[in-house]
């Protein structure tokens, strides 16, 4: 089965609403990274959060390592947040390889 599962697969919001994206993984992860992929395809690292809670701007990530899950909270969504959010984990134990989920496609409407 898939090692990294993201939910929901797609989400539509009105501007100003909050979003909660989930990432569940089947193996112990020594690294977890959230990425944003623009509609044009470019990939940007948002947060590196293998455990605990991290904030940057309107983004908050909470990872519970022993439960093998992470969430990404987007507050006060904007139309420019539209795109695909990818979760990736390192299960190699040596920080060498990332395994990606299929992503959550977010559309924020004005």
């Amino acid at each position: 089965g898939q090692q990294v599962q993201q939910s929901p697969s797609s989400l539509v919001l009105q501007e100003g609403e909050n979003a909660e994206l989930q990432c569940n993984f089947s193996s112990t992860a020594t690294q977890l990274q959230w990425f944003y992929q623009s509609p044009g395809g470019s990939l940007v690292s948002l947060l590196s959060n293998p455990s605990g809670t991290k904030h940057t701007g309107r983004l908050t990530s909470t990872t519970v390592t022993k439960e093998r899950r992470s969430s990404l909270h987007i507050s006060s969504s904007q139309t420019t947040d539209s795109g695909t959010y990818l979760c990736a984990i390192d299960i190699s134990g040596s920080f060498n390889k990332l395994t990606f989920g299929a992503g959550t496609r977010l559309a924020v409407c004005p």
Binding site: Q33, K97, F100
Partner: protein, 113 residues
């Protein structure tokens, strides 16, 4: 933040063609990676390297060769391209001395007709 560049940004070739995708990172990171991304999938690791002359096999290596000629340059080679290799290709780098994050290039869109 690390600078990772890729060339070309777009490439169209025919079945059986020979293609080389280039990646350069300017921060002397030791690890470099090649991924492919297809609709419905996340990124999948093709090959990676931890230094000049080194090559490690990723999760989907079939049909691909790679070569790390310098600390900065990592190439992906498709010697007999097939339509199944039509994809969006990303290069990434990481510095094991300073952190665990991978930094990605802008991607190369390859179409094999």
């Amino acid at each position: 933040e690390a600078a990772v560049t890729q060339s070309p940004r777009n490439k169209v070739t025919v079945t059986g063609g020979n293609v080389t995708l280039s990646c350069r990172q300017t921060n002397s990171h030791n690890y470099m990676y090649w991924y492919r991304q297809d609709t419905g999938h996340g990124l999948r690791l093709i090959h990676y390297s931890y230094g000049a002359g080194n090559l490690q096999i990723g999760d989907v290596p079939d049909g691909y060769k790679a070569t790390r000629t310098t600390q900065e340059d990592f190439f992906l080679l498709l010697e007999l391209a097939s339509p199944s290799q039509t994809s969006l290709y990303f290069c990434a780098s990481r510095d094991t001395q300073t952190g665990r994050e991978q930094y990605f290039g802008p991607g190369t869109r390859l179409t094999v007709l």
